[in-house]
Symmetry: C2
Subunit: 725 residues, 2 copies
């Protein structure tokens, strides 16, 4: 008998988790344009509706219990307790998750998906009797709802609409606020397609006298089926049934949020029976398969294939379409995310890119911090000035324009944030000039309250400090814009790009080159850092020094040696070395971050992908691939079972404190610019299938380990296949 693998890939490329100990971090995420669900292998995790505002409709907790005729109980999902005799597995697919468990003759599948439309999650419990004798069972199903607002909630069974509801009118300040607040999704509901024998709508009625580590009273005895007020609320049902030998039965539950009970009932009516629900799921799966086909690669590396063909694409769609489910987010994220979207679906990506572009003001400036329409800013950074809005606009639009293969897009008018409109090309030219003009005496782009390195709020707070990274990124943007300007016939703009690039190159070389590395920046007092004086190495200054074309042929080997010796780890390069261990007024907030975390010296995957892109740019394909594989999940030197990262999405960072027992552990967070950059680098640089306004270009050497490859890309409205060997 062979040992069961902790996890494996099933025949459809879905993740099958066999070892329940892999834990809560191995969650999947499901979404449509109106809702999102994060779901772990035990059926736990938060769900949000996004319309009219982002609002959780669950507490992240769900229970499913079986009570047998002898009174014994079993939670098939393994939560909150495992049954020592039950088998267990969880399957995460792009569009659904299913927990599969069996105890004796009884098999239970607990599955969830989100339909294409509507803010609800659909759960199915399928009970299968593998024996020949009938089984008398009681099935309990419960979704726990979020804490109500200041004024508490009510909940009850609606006998007409056959659903459990909870109503919560949040605390508010003024008489005038009733009208807008009444239009929010203040009702939560759970519609069981089969009427329950008993139900509960509050935690006290669900648990009774049970302690947290005991089986809830209601599971054992049935529920009191009575209204609730002011208590923590849930939506629990119990169905009693007899399952004949060989028989199978399914119970469906639709849970979500609505502005009114009629709206809830209307949404549920579309999912009226088993067939309607299976059809709704099939529709999602087919739709997803169509998306996958738009960019399909075949390399000898199954990890890379899985990443590009399926999981990276899913993360990009989620990031772009749901703006990472954020309330206040930096445009830099949205721009890179939709740039990534354009790699396989430029028409779908275009509206997101254009939305950002339309926020640019006529002076070329793009305020980095954006709050989703209808929401209130949810953190104070929104009021601060970061210097990279227009730079990312320039970079990402140039890249996405290449993906469109459509030169007329540059001529399309897009509004300015402060009125009128101009050609997209004019927007990009304005972005270039805004940053070019925002330079200090040192010639570097001003730092203000931070650049890509968000928490770097020390060096430029007085308005004088200059950012090496932003200056390099502007040079990179100029480099990307120049050929587009030529295609558009704007020779003057093309020339300007070249001139600016040359000027920025001279400046960076003069101000920042420091023997074996580029320094990162110059602060308000004119003091440089990230050089020999403080002996700190900043990865981004090296990556972008190369990407931008500023680093000379002589400097590149020195830079690579510095990165390799100072920053490289088995998990990829750390972002800075050494980490800050306490408040440093020169860099500010960054120095207060936990050493080894995010900008303070983690292996920040996004930045590692920049480094891989830089290596690919100079033809170091094998090294670029090696870096990417170390920051993507599933590297043998930091296996998923140990680092905590499930292999179905890209995390933000590995913990980077090399002296900590937690070095290499995943940040566990979804949504990162790593994904578009990794896909871009793999497809265009390592596989050498590059989009341009002149068509697909194929070239460059494949990584040494790749004997051959096949790439199918949608480009210019058609599917093109490139086979290399």
């Amino acid at each position: 008998m062979s040992k069961v693998a902790p996890y494996e890939w099933d025949s459809e490329g879905n993740l099958q988790i066999n070892d329940a100990q892999l834990g809560k971090g191995w969650w999947n995420y499901l979404f449509n344009d109106q809702a999102q669900l994060k779901i772990d292998p035990y059926g736990q995790g938060q769900s949000w509706s996004r319309e009219p505002r982002i609002n959780a409709w669950g507490r992240g907790r769900r229970e499913c219990w079986i009570r047998f005729a002898n009174g014994r109980t079993w939670s098939p999902s393994g939560w909150p307790q495992r049954h020592p005799e039950a088998s267990w597995a969880c399957r995460h697919a792009p569009m659904w998750t299913r927990i599969e468990s069996r105890l004796g003759d009884l098999e239970v599948h607990w599955r969830v998906f989100l339909p294409r439309e509507g803010p609800h999650e659909i759960w199915t419990v399928r009970l299968i009797n593998h024996g020949s004798s009938p089984l008398a069972l009681a099935l309990t199903h419960c979704l726990f709802q979020p804490t109500a607002g200041f004024m508490g909630s009510r909940s009850n069974w609606d006998a007409e609409r056959r659903l459990l509801w909870r109503h919560d009118f949040p605390h508010h300040a003024g008489w005038d606020e009733y009208e807008p607040l009444s239009k929010l999704a203040n009702y939560l509901y759970l519609r069981p397609l089969t009427d329950p024998h008993s139900w509960a709508v509050s935690d006290p009625d669900y648990f009774g006298s049970a302690m947290p580590a005991e089986v809830p009273d209601g599971v054992l005895q049935g529920f009191p089926s009575r209204e609730a007020a002011l208590d923590p609320s849930c939506a629990a049902t119990q169905n009693e049934l007899t399952l004949g030998g060989g028989e199978s039965k399914a119970y469906h539950f639709i849970a979500g949020a609505a502005v009114s009970l009629d709206q809830a009932a209307g949404a549920c009516a579309l999912l009226k029976d088993d067939q309607a629900i299976e059809d709704a799921l099939a529709e999602r799966v087919e739709e997803w398969e169509e998306t996958e086909k738009r960019l399909w690669i075949e390399t000898p590396d199954p990890q890379i294939n899985r990443y590009v063909n399926r999981w990276a694409k899913k993360e990009i769609v989620w990031m772009s379409r749901l703006w990472r489910n954020g309330i206040t987010t930096p445009w830099r994220n949205e721009l890179q995310d939709s740039m990534g979207y354009s790699l396989f679906d430029e028409p779908q990506a275009r509206p997101f890119l254009d939305t950002v572009t339309a926020a640019q003001t006529k002076d070329g400036h793009l305020k980095v911090w954006n709050t989703r329409p209808g929401e209130k800013p949810n953190h104070p950074l929104v009021n601060y000035r970061h210097n990279d809005g227009s730079i990312w606009l320039l970079i990402c639009q140039c890249m996405a324009l290449r993906q469109s293969g459509d030169r007329t897009l540059m001529e399309r008018p897009i509004a300015w944030g402060d009125g009128r409109e101009a050609r997209l090309l004019d927007h990009l030219s304005a972005a270039l000039e805004e940053s070019a003009a925002d330079r200090g005496d040192h010639g570097l782009v001003s730092m203000h309250d931070g650049d890509w390195t968000d928490p770097l709020n020390g060096p430029g707070r007085l308005g004088r400090g200059g950012s090496g990274w932003a200056t390099m990124a502007l040079a990179y943007g100029a480099r990307l814009l120049q050929p587009l300007a030529i295609t558009a016939g704007d020779e003057s703009l093309a020339r300007r790009c070249l001139e600016l690039h040359a000027e920025l190159t001279r400046t960076v070389q003069k101000q920042l080159w420091a023997e074996d590395r580029f320094a990162y920046a110059i602060d308000d007092e004119g003091k440089r850092f990230g050089d020999q004086a403080d002996d700190r190495v900043w990865l981004n200054a090296q990556s972008w020094g190369i990407l931008s074309g500023i680093a000379t042929r002589e400097q590149i080997p020195l830079i690579r040696k510095t990165v390799d010796s100072r920053l490289m780890t088995p998990c990829g390069p750390v972002l800075i070395d050494p980490m800050f261990t306490g408040w440093d007024p020169q860099v500010g907030r960054l120095s207060l971050k936990v050493p080894g975390s995010t900008e303070n010296g983690s292996v920040y995957c996004h930045a590692a992908a920049f480094w891989a892109a830089a290596l690919a740019e100079i033809g170091a394909a094998d090294e670029a691939l090696d870096i990417l594989k170390r920051v993507l999940p599933e590297h043998p030197e930091n296996p998923c079972e140990e680092c905590g990262q499930p292999p179905i999405w890209q995390h933000n960072a590995w913990f980077g404190d090399r002296n900590s027992p937690h070095f290499g552990r995943t940040s566990g967070t979804l949504g990162t610019g790593t994904v578009p950059w990794a896909v871009l680098t793999i497809v265009e640089k390592l596989l050498g299938v590059e989009a341009s306004l002149e068509g697909l270009r194929v070239g460059g050497a494949l990584p040494q380990g790749w004997a051959g490859s096949k790439v199918t890309r949608w480009f210019g409205g058609e599917s093109e296949t490139v086979v290399r060997s």
Copy 2:
């Protein structure tokens, strides 16, 4: 064998809970001036430090586990799971809580208290081997810490200071904010007086692979004793020990918050061993006994005695000294709370009363909403104008002045909120005139954004509506001030009080009397409500109509009949009838509250106490006592075991929806103006021992059921005893 009572009073008057099913709502609260702890019968509940800002240092969760030599485990507190063979009881005293449990030969006491000084909770686990054979045990103790801020936390063992620490620097916006934020209590610590054999500082290290309803891995196997970063944090220790036959051992744990680890270590050093800890507890107990003695009543009713002598007093001290642990609170609460404090400790209450008085501006206005110094306002109501600040200042200062027995207090200078200072009597006169002047054409005090009924933000939002309650309360204030003015020799003020009272009486009679009740108010459009037209009855308009002396001898029986027939329930009178069941623009936010909750028709204990006070005022002592007993905990028609209210503190409200299965359930919230009013009514009206600037006055009839009584009060610096029979 007699059945064990679910709860009982032990020989020291402490609450002994025998039935673990009484639940989490049966919590005690412990506090000193710097900290507060809410603690349930299983050792769960939130703890807060108050300096420099209000900040939780725990997640409210604690575990204590025993592992026996055979590998079996037991949680003596019964949380998260009960042991079917273990005995269990919990004892709540004013200054400590102790859980007492026994399994076989092993008895475990788990006790907590707060020392007089310092933001920490002190836990003691006492293990007693009642058998003759030695027991080999492993004791696990864990405090779970709050979620860290945006930037995560670090935690570790400090080998020098012998404590577990967690550091969290909260997310912040600007470079300039480092300085103030670094002065907050960003360190949490747990100091075990006995070094542990192993420890954990993160949830993952504590639980390992265990599911929520399983015994944590660390309890079974010991902990990894390693630093943590970015994970949810805890402070867990494990000690291995052998307890000889008949032997007893104690383990102490000090947990709290500090600005630095040195500060933490310094605070712990004062509690260095078993003796120091027992001394610190004894000091608290003695101090509390001194407080109790300042007002001691003996009536034939043990419930009333317990309430006044112990539990009400404790709640008043907590409310007054800790401002109900609120960040933004209405001064109306603080004024009534410290008025209650003055009933047994006027010198201690005085600074709190004066602090509020010093916020009054020269025009006599006292803005109701106050935010604790050093905090930011934590809800939007702070920006709205409620009309009752100066009215409560007038009422509560007059009442407290009587308690002082010191006529010179009226002459003492107190600053105005906007500069200079004036005699306290001038402050009160200004308060009277400010409200007297703030009246509309109808002659009623303007409603603005609400009166005592906070969420009544509809009727007066345009500035024209008038409040019946506020007008009556102003008349009541004038009535209280008048004799003080005479004592002070200010005849003109005394005359003004009488004239204003007469004028307000005429106005209320003309505008609000409605056949069998007083209407509540007139809205901005001049439309009256709370009369026959809307057929709603508002309790407060009736109570204050009587209390103020406005109601005529003929009206009082009509009013009482209306209250009895429309509002009375076995749990006391509801606040309004009928409840609002949806948005009513006339009254505003009140109508959105869950029907039967708080101002929307609960049995609001504070308002019920007003009604009792009104009945006592007119000599209906038996009826007043009956009302009080129905709203205080422990009424046989709504027993504690059913309503969920523990008999050691006063809740805010009983759920008032008479059609709901939850009618009569406690709101479960601590801190209410009920307490000062109940104590005032019991001592001064029912027992007839009334303080005045001329000395204690004794008079009035005792309730019929009370054959005799004894009251000992501190008054004017001396203890006086009044025996009546």
